[in-house]
Every structure is written in structure tokens, then in C-alpha cells.
């Protein structure tokens, strides 16, 4: 019969907020801009190449995987770009491009698409990529190009942490991964995301706060050094806050942030590895389903009647 459609019927509500997934992801890319630019400023063309290679590979891998599965290609939501960019920012500037490409493929394929794509992964894809590279090519992944500092390692690997000026740490004039060096650029982006409401302040607050408190008592260097050194800032603002791989409950986010902080200090101070941001977040990612399950907020009116 003829189609006489006139009105639309649908369940309520009939108005929606303007937010969309791609919108959020695009804003994350925006927030990463200062860090990206700083990285290119400090490390030059090699950084640029890594960033481009990772981003393109990530997006291409996502498209390819979805094509293979015969499901709609959703690279337009910017989420693959975010993963590629974040991965690039955690790599050492001198890393061979092919390794970065491998990492990017792994990040998207193994970190995200095998679970069904955006929203279903347990582990932060960028960190999966980095962890894979770190486990595969430990030497290449821990060799740092120097700017004008004499230390041969990241600040955390340095023999005498206090020797590094905090100002340099803050501005990023130290060795390290692309996006880890300049705390000020990261904080700028992080504040933007906080302002826009795209990340929950509880996670970075729990993470950074715990690290600050614990390093006051244990470890060398003191809290300010530990906060600024290594990938903590990047991790706290951009990795640990990844919506997909963090708890959805408020209490859960506190637990997540504090858990990351505790693990980080354990790994940095007692562990065999110089840096633990990556692992602290990945480890806590595993706990997310359990945290979510057991931190249900008290539903409105949930009391014992007669109690």
C-alpha cells in the first residue's frame, strides 16, 4: 500500500542535548593539541613523523578491521585518531617508524576492535599499543633522544632525580616520550577537557593526589618531582580518564584514580621498571568491571523500609 507517512512517533524524550560521540572525541583531539605542538617543537620532524604515522595507521586499521567484519566503518567518530595520537605521544622520539606503525595496529586491532570496537574494550587501546611495543622492543622503547640535557635517561631513570630542575620538567625541557615532557601543555589540555566536562575530575584528582601523598613518604625526589616526571600528567589527564575504560560510577572513579596512584608508586619505588604509569592504568583497567559491579550508587530512596 502507499506510504502515507506524515508524523513521526517515537518514545520520549523528544529533545536531545547537542553532545555526540564524535564531538567528544574531537574535543579530546583539540585538547591534545598543545601537547602535540610542544612535542613537535622540542623533537622536530621525527616527532611529527611518528604522530602522522600513528594517526594514519590507527585510522586505517580501524577502517580495515570494520571492512573485514562487514560492519559500518566508523572512523568519522575520531576515536581511532585519538588512540593513534595518544600512542604517538607515549613513544620515544627516536623510535623507528615501523615500530610505531606496529604499535598503532596492535592498539586498534588488539586493544579495541577484537572486543567489538568503540565502547567495548577493557584496556586503553593506546596503552595496549605501548605496552606491546615496550614488551617487544624494550631497548628501542627506552632509548631517549636528548634535547639539551645531559641525562641519558628519562628523569625517572636518572641517577639523581633532584638534579633535574623542576622548571625544566614543568616546561618539558627533559628527555622522554613525545608527549610526556611538558607538564604545562598537558595540564592546559586537561583543564580544557575538565572545563568542557568531557573528563571527570575525580580520576586525575585521585591519581595525582595519591601519588603526591605517597611520594611524600616513600621514594626519592619528593611529590612535585614525581608528579611532573615521566608520563604521569599525560596518563592522569588523557589515559586514565578514557571514558570507555574507566568506571562509570563516581565512587568507582575515585577507587580507580587512587588505585592507579598506589600501583604507580609501588612500581616506581619498589618495582623493577622505572616508569609505571602505563602499567598502573592497564592494571586498573582490569578492575573496572568489578569496580563498577560493586560500587553501585545508592539508588534514590534506597533505604530499608522500617529500618
Amino acid at each position: 500500500m502507499s506510504n502515507r507517512t506524515q508524523l513521526t512517533v517515537s518514545p520520549g524524550p523528544h529533545v536531545r542535548s547537542k553532545e555526540s560521540t564524535s564531538n567528544i572525541m574531537f574535543n579530546v583531539v583539540l585538547a591534545l593539541l598543545p601537547t602535540t605542538l610542544t612535542a613537535i617543537y622540542y623533537f622536530g620532524s621525527s616527532a611529527l613523523m611518528l604522530i602522522i604515522a600513528c594517526s594514519i595507521t590507527a585510522v586505517a586499521t580501524e577502517a580495515l578491521f570494520q571492512k573485514l567484519r562487514g560492519i559500518p566503518v566508523t572512523i568519522g567518530d575520531f576515536s581511532a585518531l585519538v588512540t593513534g595520537l595518544l600512542l604517538a605521544l607515549t613513544l620515544p622520539p627516536e623510535l623507528p617508524i615501523w615500530m610505531a606503525i606496529v604499535g598503532s595496529i596492535i592498539a586498534i586491532a588488539l586493544g579495541k576492535q577484537v572486543f567489538g570496537g568503540l565502547g567495548y574494550n577493557f584496556f586503553n587501546p593506546a596503552l595496549v599499543g605501548r605496552a606491546f611495543l615496550l614488551a617487544s622492543f624494550p631497548v628501542a622503547m627506552t632509548t631517549w633522544k636528548l634535547i639539551d640535557v645531559t641525562s641519558s635517561a628519562t628523569p625517572l631513570g636518572a641517577d639523581n632525580p633532584t638534579a633535574i630542575a623542576l622548571k625544566d620538567l614543568f616546561l618539558g625541557r627533559v628527555g622522554g616520550s613525545l608527549g610526556e615532557t611538558s607538564a604545562v601543555a598537558i595540564i592546559l589540555g586537561g583543564l580544557y577537557l575538565l572545563y568542557k566536562g568531557y573528563i571527570d575530575w575525580r580520576v586525575p584528582a585521585g591519581y595525582l593526589g595519591t601519588v603526591a601523598v605517597l611520594t611524600t613518604f616513600v621514594g626519592k625526589g619528593g611529590p612535585i618531582f614525581h608528579l611532573l616526571a615521566g608520563g604521569l600528567m599525560l596518563g592522569a589527564f588523557f589515559m586514565a580518564t578514557d571514558m570507555v575504560t574507566t568506571p562509570v560510577t563516581k565512587k568507582g572513579r575515585w577507587i580507580f584514580g587512587i588505585g592507579c596512584g598506589i600501583l604507580l608508586v609501588i612500581i616506581r619505588v619498589y618495582g623493577g621498571l622505572p616508569e609505571g604509569v602505563l602499567y598502573s592504568i592497564l592494571l586498573m583497567n582490569m578492575f573496572v568491571p568489578i569496580i563498577d559491579k560493586y560500587t553501585l550508587p545508592r539508588a534514590f530512596g534506597e533505604v530499608k523500609i522500617n529500618g
Partner: protein, 181 residues
């Protein structure tokens, strides 16, 4: 069902299986033990000679309750002592054969007899690049990875573990020498 009698058959069967098993295994054990011991002895000999450059034979030496092996060169003069020592590694026990020159207070050579550490990382302690650096190291050194010992990339713990075992071995041997003399 009421009361049932305990089934004697159960006991008989399981006991006889155990007995047969014990019998068979005793035979296997007897047949293989000499070979296994031979392998072990051979391996030990190789290890001892390996860590004592210049030695062609060795003799056992008791000192302060320790079992030491005195290496002798072709001329029959001692080149150093070998000492087997073990300690905790990254994943499990690491067993080292350590050649040392007690007179000059330095290490001669180190051989990894057994370790369970991560293949490709900690397991690279067996490579010359790592263990070679201990050659000639003084007893009084600190043996701290990343300071006076170059750690294997990505395996600081394994590196430190080996260093610790060495340090411990030195202390043990020195103790034996000082106590023994």
C-alpha cells in the same frame, strides 16, 4: 541403604597399583640415575673449568664448611677457586658457578647454571655481554645494577639478582677463608 561394608577391593587395587608403580619406577630410577649423575658431573666439570680461565683440572677443597673447587693450570699451580652459589632471581632460583681469585680479591668469570627468568630479557644474563662484565670485578665493589653493573635493558631486576648472588657468594667465601684460617 543402611550399613555397608567397606570395600576391600578398593584398598587392594589402589595399593597394588602403587606397589607396581613403585617397582617400575625404582627400576627406571636405577637405570637412569648413573647417566643423570654423569651428565651432572660432566656439566659441573665444564662449568668449573669454564669459570677458571687457564685451569685444566680441579680439585675439591673444603673450607669453613664450604665446598670449593680449586682450579689448577697445566703446571699444576692454582688459578683460582670456583664456587657454586644460588639465590632468588626474578622468577625463580638462579644458580651460578663463580670463579674467583681470592688472593687478588676479584672475580674471574661467572657462568649461569640455571635460571628461570624471562626469555629474551632476564634470560640474557647468560649472554657474554652481561656476565662478561663481572670479569675482574673487585670484591669490594658495590654490585648495584645501573650503577657499577650495567643492567640488561628491560631486566634490571634479573641483573640486580645476579649481582646480589655474586655479592653474597663473595661474602660467604671470604667468611670461610677468614674463619678457616
Amino acid at each position: 541403604m543402611g550399613k555397608e561394608k567397606i570395600d576391600i577391593k578398593l584398598i587392594v587395587v589402589l595399593t597394588s597399583i602403587m606397589i607396581i608403580s613403585a617397582l617400575v619406577l625404582s627400576l627406571v630410577y636405577q637405570a637412569t640415575t648413573p647417566l643423570i649423575n654423569e651428565h651432572a658431573a660432566q656439566a659441573k666439570k665444564e662449568a668449573i673449568l669454564d669459570v677458571l680461565p687457564g685451569a685444566v683440572k680441579y680439585e675439591k677443597l673444603e673450607k669453613g664448611g664450604l665446598e670449593l673447587y680449586q682450579g689448577l693450570d697445566e703446571a699444576g699451580s692454582p688459578v683460582g677457586i670456583a664456587f657454586q652459589h644460588e639465590g632468588n632471581g626474578f622468577q625463580g632460583t638462579i644458580i651460578l658457578m663463580i670463579g674467583m681469585d681470592v688472593e687478588n680479591q676479584k672475580l674471574l668469570k661467572v657462568k649461569i647454571l640455571d635460571q628461570l627468568d624471562t626469555p629474551g630479557l632476564g634470560a640474557r644474563m647468560a649472554e657474554e655481554e652481561f656476565k662478561g662484565q663481572f670479569q675482574g670485578k673487585s670484591f669490594s665493589d658495590n654490585f648495584v645494577a645501573k650503577e657499577d653493573v650495567d643492567a640488561i635493558a628491560g631486566a634490571t631486576i634479573s641483573s640486580q639478582a645476579v649481582s646480589n648472588i655474586l655479592k653474597d657468594a663473595i661474602a660467604t667465601v671470604e667468611q670461610a677463608y677468614s674463619g678457616g684460617e
